[in-house]
Amino acid sequence: MELSGAEIIIQFLKDEGVDHVFGYPGGAVLHIYDALYGQEDVQHILVRHEQAATHAADGYARSTGKPGVVLVTSGPGATNAITGIATAFLDSIPMVVITGQVSTPVIGSDAFQEVDAVGITRPCVKHNFLVKDITDLADTLKKAFHIASTGRPGPVVVDIPKDVTDPNIKIPYIYPKTVEMRSYNPVTKGHLIQMKRAVDLIMSAKRPMIYSGGGVVLGNAKDELREFTRFLNYPITQTLMGLGAYPENDKLSVGMLGMHGTYEANMAMHECDVLIAIGARFDDRVTGKLADFCPTAKIVHIDIDPASISKNVKVDIPIVGDVKLVLQELNNLLQESKSRPGEAAIAKWWDQIDQWRGKQCLEYDRKSDLIKPQFVIETLSKLTRGQDTFVTSDVGQHQMWAAQYYRFDEPRRWINSGGLGTMGFGLPAAMGVQLAHPDATVACVTGEGSIQMCIQELSTCKQYGLPIKIINLNNRYLGMVRQWQEFTYEQRYSMSYMEALPDFQKLTEAYGHVGMLIEKPGDVEGALKEALALKDRLVFMDFITDRTENVYPMIEAGKAQHEMRMPTDRELA
């Protein structure tokens, strides 16, 4: 069939199985928007700001595993999308972003709404393309989806000049089912000899530790991870990005690790003799002071990205491959192996871990007259446990409390910006999740700082009837900034509070949603129940919380994993 460039794009998206596109029209993409008109296979979601389009596509991708798709115009459309593209890049989220470009004859002439989108996005994409010829369009789009969703996933930008989508120029179109790229062939199977060496080391461990990351979620390897962990009966800690791949309520789980990880997880990391890193990248928020990271451990590292191996921490046995395939093979090798973990040593190690657990590092004051943010998250967790629930978050203290207290039992249920730490992510991400899972409960845990970075999306939520439950932990501070200023800047609270906050309840109502104000601990559970029962309405719950609450434990900058600041330290200090 003969199609114009604009029609090729829409037809390709249909053929590729794309059901949602998040975007915002403008001059350079008008031909494409015209081709969208009057068809129903690809539903376009009109956001209120291009940043939100990328976060929504990102939430869609994280919750489904399918690439999120974005369509924005040239110039400011592309630049507004950058934050969301970088967010996806840092967390390895599959995404295809189509940016309009000025027509090819005027590229480079500082034309209206012209920006070098390929140049400006290059450092924060897995790859990008400029399509100068309509005959390359379908193949390039196929490559974009292939690159975005294979290997270590990531965002891919396809920049398409307006004349390439001209409705008057038509060429034959056939959906390219496959793609061949001599320069891109990600490794999938692990190296057998390395895996055998890993099995020997794993079996010989006396103080083993499994450190599982976002790669296990991205690689859909939860079953393999669970089999691996349970077979060995070893403790497992998960990164902020990995939460839920292994059930956090299971006895082998010692919780999250890192800057705001549990005491037991960080101590066990520090003391372990064999560390098994699976789809994790030794981020600085996990390692703390590198020189003192896991000082006594031999390290096995499974990762699909060779560049992740020995980047921050030198490892002893690297295994490059798809985590799912590598874990399957390792599980086979473990079962076939004649050796078994040393029972006495492992029992002793568990005794030690139970002692650390005895510190109850996540305890907080439950008798306070003020709403404790931790209590809100715990209550949310209690009320939604076992149900079809997703939790997105913004960035800051509320994000850490959500990660610490919700206790995720399944992957892809916890959706947050870990790598880039993008405030404003939570609400638009929740939109993407809700569109992909119309019947699920989607909670957005946020704060009064973050929510205002993309609050305009309440309008999008109204247009598409997205019944998101917004949990605003309102402490009238940029809480994480305030916490650092309390600890390391002698309580000089420079610019970490806002005056003139809006009345969120009224604001939400102005957008056509339900607003709630909750000021007493005794009202928390009732408010959450009421909100969750409103299945078809967006509810904005403004929880006025204890404004001086801090996130504990905390490894402060420059400290090692075992040097945690605990809740009790505050009173002592």
Binding site: R122, K126, L130, R182, S183, A307, K314
Partner: protein
């Protein structure tokens, strides 16, 4: 902190050069020199990057380069036998017969060719390793040099060692 010559075969696409240059600047790696030109296969470019770094840094550079979608294949030439060549064009002030004779002799010693002559200047063309060109420039002293143009290093593996598809 050793010097490495990394030879890269890339898709001959617009922007390929800036992907490599951008990678080096974004990650804070050193570039001593960088040359690029198409190969006998018009769809491929060959790039030679000279860089300096510790073993760990070089390992990361190679991994990060391999991660670029346009990179088809690469080798670190300095890991085994290889030939390194750089072209230099050096314009010299050459006045008076004593000076002119001396410069001609020096050029011959370094196996250079004088490729342009005026009554007051010579242009010497010289090929060799970076070290040899450094030595030539040093031998001249800066008194006589008007300008120096260096191509940056190119390199190729010795014998059976090659970078091909």
């Amino acid at each position: 902190m050793d010097r490495h010559i990394i030879s890269i075969l890339m898709e001959n696409e617009a922007g390929a050069l800036s992907r490599v240059a951008g990678l080096f600047s974004a990650r804070g790696y050193n570039i001593e020199s960088l040359t690029v030109a198409p190969t006998e296969d018009a769809s491929l470019s060959r790039m030679t990057v000279v860089t300096v770094g510790s073993e760990e840094i070089i390992e990361q550079i190679i991994k990060q380069l391999n991660k670029l979608i346009d990179v088809v294949k690469l080798i670190d030439l300095t890991q085994a036998g290889h030939i390194e060549r750089e072209l230099a064009l050096v314009k010299l002030r050459a006045e008076g017969s004593v000076d002119r004779d001396e410069l001609k002799r020096l050029s011959d010693i370094f196996r250079g060719h004088i490729v342009d002559v005026t009554s007051t200047s010579y242009v010497v063309e010289l090929t060799g390793t970076g070290d040899k060109i450094d030595a030539f420039i040093e031998a001249l002293g800066d008194r006589q040099i008007i300008e120096v143009v260096r191509s940056g290093a190119s390199g190729i593996g010795r014998g059976e060692r090659s970078l091909e598809l």
